[in-house]
């Protein structure tokens, strides 16, 4: 694969009820990403936006940010899915030979709608919706299956939450930097057994932007380019009943593709850090297994061992992860932005020392039906 780098990144501060509108957030990150890369809008020859109609309450929601994302004057497209998939689209457009530099902008405002109703609409209108399924209770189903099958405990899940909210204290963009204990998590309000409030990501508003560039076009930039070493994406089937919710085959398939491309055979040894999409605490444990950091069912023990803590062998979510800020669609792009900052050595208080290879992960659909994974390297 030809060498393509990420040369600029930007994020808004994530918060609930941001007073900014969608286009104001998009413009903020587009401008900041250009500044970060040291290029101007004229250097951008195409864009990819990531928006979702249901979350925004507007059909053709990409229209809202056409001007603000710099998409009015250059070829553009809209990936209605996680920001990681937007970067994949941006990458393919460059690899096709027709473009040099892609600006990718993702945004959403969870505060404008009612997340329970919006995520209820994910489910099949004939069979599933009437059951009142939404993101939280479907996750509860998955968590229960996973915990039951492998003997994962609620305490082990809670440890993810404790770790990530503490990591968020080092991240100026995070919405929920918190000092909490396992006990705090276990005592927090039950939302849908076994998922409690502190096991759950918040409702967030925010945007993120990333600029990709072909190697030949990166010479003029000031910052250290971060290379895309590998990428993979994969989708499981749709109906919850057709899936083994404790299974992570889709992630494994995406990871295999990304690792093969990047030449990685022992992920737990060769990767410096991972930014993964932990919409719920149990998810981080499942994704560790899917990413090959441990065997199936080993997620809980891995968490207990301290392997994924800051200062451990493979810190996971030094940024605080999605548990600390969950602007839908932008959250996956933020994983990439954070990974880039780490590899540049610009991650400030949350820096993982000597970071050389990082993973950035995003999910799509209910209970992680789809996965997209990037391997980035300095």
């Amino acid at each position: 694969m030809e060498r393509v780098a990420i040369i600029g990144v930007a994020q808004t501060k994530y918060q609930r009820n941001s007073p900014s509108s969608h286009d104001e957030m998009a413009f903020e990150v587009a401008q900041k990403a250009l500044e970060d890369a040291g290029v101007s809008i004229e250097d951008i020859d195409n864009t990819v936006t990531c928006t979702n109609d249901f979350w925004d309450g507007r059909t053709i929601s990409c229209m809202t940010i056409t001007d603000a994302s710099g998409s009015s004057k250059v070829p553009t497209t809209n990936v209605e899915g996680d920001g990681t998939l937007g970067v994949l689209m941006g990458l393919m457009r460059i690899l096709s030979g027709h473009f040099e530099t892609t600006l990718v902008v993702a945004q959403s405002k969870g505060s404008v709608g009612i997340p329970g109703l919006i995520t209820n609409a994910i489910f099949d209108p004939l069979y599933e919706r009437i059951l009142g399924l939404d993101a939280i209770n479907s996750a509860a189903l998955q968590a229960r299956m996973y915990m039951f099958k492998y003997g994962i405990t609620e305490e082990q899940c809670a440890r993810v939450s404790v770790k990530n909210h503490k990591n968020a204290k080092n991240n100026p963009y995070a919405q929920l930097p918190l000092d909490i204990t396992v006990k705090d998590v276990l005592k927090s309000r039950m939302l849908a057994d076994p998922i409690k409030l502190l096991d759950t990501s918040p409702v967030s508003d925010g945007a993120c932007a990333v600029i990709l560039s072909r190697e030949s076009a990166t010479r003029k930039i000031s910052r250290r380019p971060i290379w895309i070493k590998g990428v993979g994406h994969c989708s499981d089937t749709y109906h919850l009943g057709d899936r083994d919710l404790s299974d992570v085959s889709a992630l494994k398939s995406a990871a295999k593709r990304a690792y093969d491309m990047a030449g990685i055979s022992n992920p737990w040894k060769e990767i410096s850090l991972a930014e993964v999409y932990d919409a719920f605490s149990y998810m981080e444990l499942m994704w560790m297994e899917g990413l090959g950091f441990c065997d199936r069912g080993g997620g809980g023990a891995l968490m207990d061992s301290g392997f994924t803590e800051m200062g451990g062998s493979l810190p996971v979510n030094p940024s605080g992860g999605v548990l600390s800020a969950h602007p839908v669609l932008a959250a996956g792009l933020a994983r990439i932005a954070e990974a880039v900052l780490q590899l540049r050595g610009e991650a400030g208080a949350r820096q993982v020392a000597g970071a050389k290879v990082a993973l950035a992960h995003g999910i799509e659909g209910a209970c992680g039906q789809g996965h997209c994974l990037f391997v980035l390297g300095s």
Partner: protein, 160 residues
Amino acid sequence: MSSQKQEEKSEELLSISSIVDVPYNYNAGYYVSQYLRELKENGRILGVKCPKCQKVYVPPRVVCSQCFVQTKEFVPVSDTGTVKAFCVVTVPYTNPNTGEPKKLPFTCAYIKLDGSDSNIMHCLEEVDEKKIRAGMRVQAVFNEIRTGDHFTDIKHFKII
């Protein structure tokens, strides 16, 4: 298959009606907030000027799409302008803002207000297409009671 069997077969096909009802609380953001506030409090229409190309855009927005530069200066524009294009809509549909059927006929018009470089979309009082032409001059008619919630502080535009 005989036609009777076909009829029976299609009677077996079910469909289920449901309504997806998701309420939204939209943020106006800084620029639209200024616009709506000025409409409500002073009965004036604001545009925003691009510091680079000097174009004035109504409604105000954060960025000039041509220059990709942040707009900062708010500029009042006239309440009078020219119809650039229009159509008289008679096809029934549900107004997604209210859930009620849209009141018909209504005239959707693109109007270039004096002092603005872009067109705004609003409606005309006149709904007879024989009496409307592009190029006609129109003036905003403001509602007596203005709420600032909605662009309907301008009731419609009348032909002058």
